[in-house]
Symmetry: C2
Subunit: 204 residues, 2 copies
Amino acid sequence: MTASAVGRRGRRPGRPDTRAAILAAARGRFASAGFGGTTIRAIAADAGVDAALVHHYFGSKDDLFVAALELPVDPRAVMAERVIGTSGGNAEGAGERLLRAFLSVWDDPEVQPGLLAIVRRVMEPGGDKLISEGFLPVVLVPLGEALGIDHPEQRMPLVASQVIGLILVRYLVRLEPVASWDHERLVTAYAPTLQRYFTGPLPA
Amino acid sequence: MTASAVGRRGRRPGRPDTRAAILAAARGRFASAGFGGTTIRAIAADAGVDAALVHHYFGSKDDLFVAALELPVDPRAVMAERVIGTSGGNAEGAGERLLRAFLSVWDDPEVQPGLLAIVRRVMEPGGDKLISEGFLPVVLVPLGEALGIDHPEQRMPLVASQVIGLILVRYLVRLEPVASWDHERLVTAYAPTLQRYFTGPLPA
């Protein structure tokens, strides 16, 4: 749906196609300008609505980014519940907690197809921004900050590199034995790697 | 080029299009039947040549698989020279040697585009076999065996998962700081992970 087509439908707040128009405009902006280069104001203009309406429907720019991805689950909620927890900011054991949270979401057969669609989108031309200007600032760096680790902007890309590699090997390439291992085996194999990226030595 | 079109061109050995016909037939078979399900005999039949001619031109089925990928470098030669080495079969330090060999190939600007094309092919539907039925049995498991590690069929997929994740983060997604780190920094970050997969504890 183009911005002008959306505009022609008028500015009636509350109509279901207003939400859809905002989401379409958000997807277009995030894809072309990246997360950092996109403003709520620009999305609102593209959708032909007031910026206040965008905030009213979707909350912050972070929230709108997650909504535009149409993820089957909000990764920030999963992180808050299962990785950060109520104690708040304990990096000890974070590798194992992240891995278990990640596996419980990815191994849900109702959720997995939607996640795989996102991964395939990342691989398409221009899809790289989805991670570098989306997931990293919206989900991963805030997770590192909440866990109280030093240099989250360096450590979280390392964490991401092993999580992405595991996604590809287990869910896309379905390489055995990793594709069939249960969660305990995967924790034995991968949790120490993630923990080292969270809290181990960093390059000078 | 279809098998019948190839057949019509006759069975003249030594003609450049005979080589091309064999490679096209090999690509078709490997893509549809996987490495394990493909025979030299079937490729020869598709190309309208004798199986002996396929062996004459390309050597073993492993060699033909690597040739069909049109890789800018033969990964087996790189492994033999830089990871296995002349001492033969020493797993100590293999994580760092593999990482340095991998980086020297991938960071060569003349080689990188060809490698990225292969990675994108892996992501396409059916491309998963390229790793599970190609790279793993042809390159990775033989590397593990040459290094003398136990359970190479379990360890090499773990190694692959971090190498693939690094490829995606550094070369496709170009996530900073990993995309810009020099080899020493990458060795500090990743060599211990690879070494643990080569020689550390395995899931029970």
